[in-house]
């Protein structure tokens, strides 16, 4: 099936939660809603599910207007951040419950439950009660229950947020494969850019109830059309410098001048904002086309495989990503080098003016 949101808005009381969102979801596709807390992810999912009715706009499923159709008459399944299972039912019965409600019986029920359990690696646990499971196993049970229905639309609202990071890492890796096999349209809400990248498919960046950009995940990441989209899709946060281009030079902030190299070279004179992610900078040798800033380390955050080094400069604090475990100490003087071919340039309205070609 296909699913389309056509200029959907949702207002409650004085507050506008969703502003004029249009999305077209392809059959069997993975769609990520990426945005910070309160950007409208859950509200949008409730509208798609039919739990709430949009204030204006339409929902179209398979060419049919389903805007006012309530959730129980739609082919939709939802997985929430909290693991929701029936505590008194075994894993088998938890997975079977939506089928029993739908009147599926006997051989058909058994084979579908076992099929979903196999996909999610729950076969050895079918006789257990939820309380006897780990968090990851409980959430896998909830996901099995969502896919066993064979709903046309499966909505997952930050399903991994409550798990330990190792489990999250492993399920993130497994989920796209598992979910793809279901053939449903998948909508997956997350606050975390790395999760969106790992899930692949298409991503909509959400900010203040608006879908800023919707497209293939990798191109939304590498070519954000608007600075808000780049901000939503950057972790650690996007580094930003306001600049003024004048001939062969740029003024960085109010104090510094630098030659217009890299993507800055071809830019018409005017005011812009440069955005760069932590991996477009280093603390070692200058790049071939380099913007260099003197600074001081304020802290190095270590994620295990990468270090996020915060550098205080006259233009503000920037975060640089270094591979492995950084041994840099707070207070150390460093030169921050920014690869001028790997920056994003936005005009004063926030629209993208230049970015490096996608690889």
């Amino acid at each position: 099936m296909s699913f389309r949101l056509d200029h959907v808005s949702f207002v409650s009381g004085d507050e506008t939660f969703i502003r004029d969102v249009s999305l077209e979801l392809e059959p069997g596709s993975m769609n990520v809603l990426l945005g910070p807390t309160l950007s409208g992810k859950t509200t949008l999912m409730r509208l798609m599910a039919g739990l709430d009715r949009p204030t204006s706009g339409r929902m179209i499923a398979n060419g049919r207007d389903v805007t006012g159709v309530p959730v129980r008459r739609r082919s939709v399944a939802m997985v929430y951040q909290q693991f929701i299972n029936y505590p008194s039912l075994t894993v088998y019965e938890n997975i079977a419950s939506p089928l029993r409600v739908a009147g599926v019986r006997g051989q058909e029920l058994d084979s579908r439950v076992l099929g979903a359990a196999r996909v999610l690696g729950l076969e050895p646990l079918l006789k257990r009660l939820p309380a006897q499971l780990s968090g990851g196993q409980q959430q896998r049970t909830a996901i099995a229950r969502a896919i066993v229905k064979r709903a046309d639309l499966v909505l997952l609202d930050e399903p991994l947020a409550n798990l330990d990071y190792k489990l999250r890492e492993e399920l993130r890796e497994e989920l796209p494969r598992i979910l793809k096999a279901s053939g449903a349209i998948l909508v997956y809400a997350t606050t975390e850019p790395p999760e969106a990248l790992q899930l692949g498919g298409a991503t909509a960046t959400l900010w203040q109830g608006r879908a800023i950009q919707f497209g293939p995940t990798s191109s939304v990441y590498h070519r954000p059309h608007h600075i808000d989209s780049a901000r939503v899709f950057s972790d650690p946060p996007l580094n930003e410098i306001t600049i003024r281009k004048r001939g062969e030079a740029v003024e960085l902030g109010e104090f510094r001048r630098a030659p217009a190299v890299g993507l800055l070279a071809g830019l018409p004179d005017g005011d812009y904002t440069i955005g760069f992610r932590g991996n477009a900078a280093n603390l070692g040798r200058p790049f071939a086309q380099s913007i260099d800033l003197e600074g001081r380390i304020s802290v190095a955050e270590i994620s295990g495989s990468e270090s996020f080094v915060h550098v205080e400069t006259a233009l503000g604090v920037f975060v640089c990503v270094e591979p492995g475990v950084s041994a840099r100490l707070p207070g150390q003087a460093v030169d921050l080098r920014v690869d001028a071919t790997h920056i994003l340039i936005f005009d004063r309205s926030g629209a993208l003016v230049a970015a490096r070609d996608e690889r």
């Binding site: 807390t37 990071y165 692949g200 955050e301 994620s303 495989s305 915060h310 475990v325």
Partner: protein, 360 residues
């Protein structure tokens, strides 16, 4: 100010425990040094909270001694130990102002007014609480309240240690950034021993000078963050630290050669042949394994993920699945590829423990 010594400390919640599996904390000998920052890191049930509770006095260990400097405190109550604690959830007085909350642990011990005022100002500055000092704690956000709890834990300059039990649990994810870095800065500003329990590797590695990695009641490795990443002494450490964790592949090792999935790999050092029946695996990080047209081992590529900052491939080496880094300039037709592993970052694990190479 103190040094804390664990002298063969172990704990079982069962009476008359015998078997090793009965112990929530297996015997540990360790010295926590004055002024250092330590993290206890491991999955739930690993014994990290038991260990913290032994240091705080909530649990009296069934075996061993606990020394603060040279004084045996094993059986002393918490309040006799001169420690400060910060818990998962804010512990503050809602009716007091932020300043009064911060001052409370000092006033309680009869510190004079001027000294209290100066210390409260210093701690508030470190935690960015200066602006809200005169506001009542009631009505502040959960994040702000937890910051006050942190401040209360840090305000006494004379404590033997400050103990943190998953202190960022209630903090909004967007603010964890800020607080993680803040805690590191605070530790550098205050010369006090800090011990921090968490299951989150970013918190542990960012905060600590040394991380204690635990599993099933056992300490697997105590080392600096760099050491844990570069040279894990146990397969679990390799798996648990890093995202994704270390790759492990079954191998036969003899001298300077390893046989992996029917292929031969040359090792950087020589290794004695492991005893028959032991599990022998090679461990290497995805960060130290690169995919290309040439290389040591033949693999088949299942999937390449663009993770934004880098590309990661899931590949099959014989029947074993591993992760490898895909350099920017490399592209593929079909699924056949070669894998190069940095020999200096390739380790041999026998029954899960790292086996050092023989001296040359």
């Amino acid at each position: 100010m103190a040094r804390i010594t664990l002298d063969h400390v172990a704990h079982s919640y069962l009476r008359g425990a015998g078997a090793s599996a009965d112990y929530a904390l297996k015997p540990i000998d360790h010295v926590w040094r004055q002024g250092r920052a330590y993290a206890l890191l491991g999955p739930s049930g690993c014994g990290k909270t038991t260990l913290l509770n032994i240091i705080s006095g909530l649990v009296i260990p069934s075996e061993g001694r606990l020394l603060f400097d040279d004084r045996d405190v094993t059986r002393l109550r918490t309040e006799q130990r001169n420690i400060a604690q910060v818990f998962q959830f804010p512990v503050i007085y809602d009716t007091m102002t932020v300043a009064e909350n911060l001052a409370f642990p000092l006033r309680n011990r009869g510190v004079d007014r001027a000294a209290v005022k100066a210390r409260v100002a210093e701690i508030a500055e470190l935690l960015d609480l200066t602006k809200v000092l005169d506001r009542p704690a009631r009505g502040l956000t959960a994040d702000a309240k937890q910051k006050i709890s942190l401040g209360r834990g840090l305000v006494r300059p004379d404590v033997a240690a400050v103990l943190f039990d998953e202190p960022l649990t209630v903090i909004d994810p967007a603010l964890k950034w800020e607080l993680r870095s803040k805690l590191k800065a605070v530790h550098r500003a205050l010369d006090v021993l800090m011990i921090y329990v968490t299951h989150d590797q970013i918190e542990a590695l960012t905060f600590a000078d040394e991380v204690v990695v635990m599993k099933d009641g056992r300490v697997l490795q105590i080392a600096s963050p760099a050491e844990l990443f570069e040279r894990p002494e146990h397969t679990f450490v390799g798996y648990f630290i890093g995202s994704p964790g270390m790759n492990f592949v079954e191998a036969e090792v003899d001298g300077a050669r390893a046989r992996v999935a029917g292929q031969t790999l040359t090792l950087a050092g020589r290794y004695a042949r492991p005893p028959a029946g032991s599990s022998v695996r090679l461990g290497f990080r995805p960060d130290h394994a690169t995919l290309g047209a040439a290389g040591d081992l033949s693999v088949s590529v299942e999937k390449i993920e663009d993770l934004g900052r880098r590309r990661l491939a899931r590949v099959r080496l014989g029947q074993q699945r591993i992760f490898a880094t895909v350099p920017d300039e490399v592209s593929f037709d079909g699924d056949a590829a070669r894998l190069t592993i940095n020999p200096e970052r390739l380790y041999v694990y026998v029954d899960d423990e790292r086996r050092p190479a023989e001296a040359a």
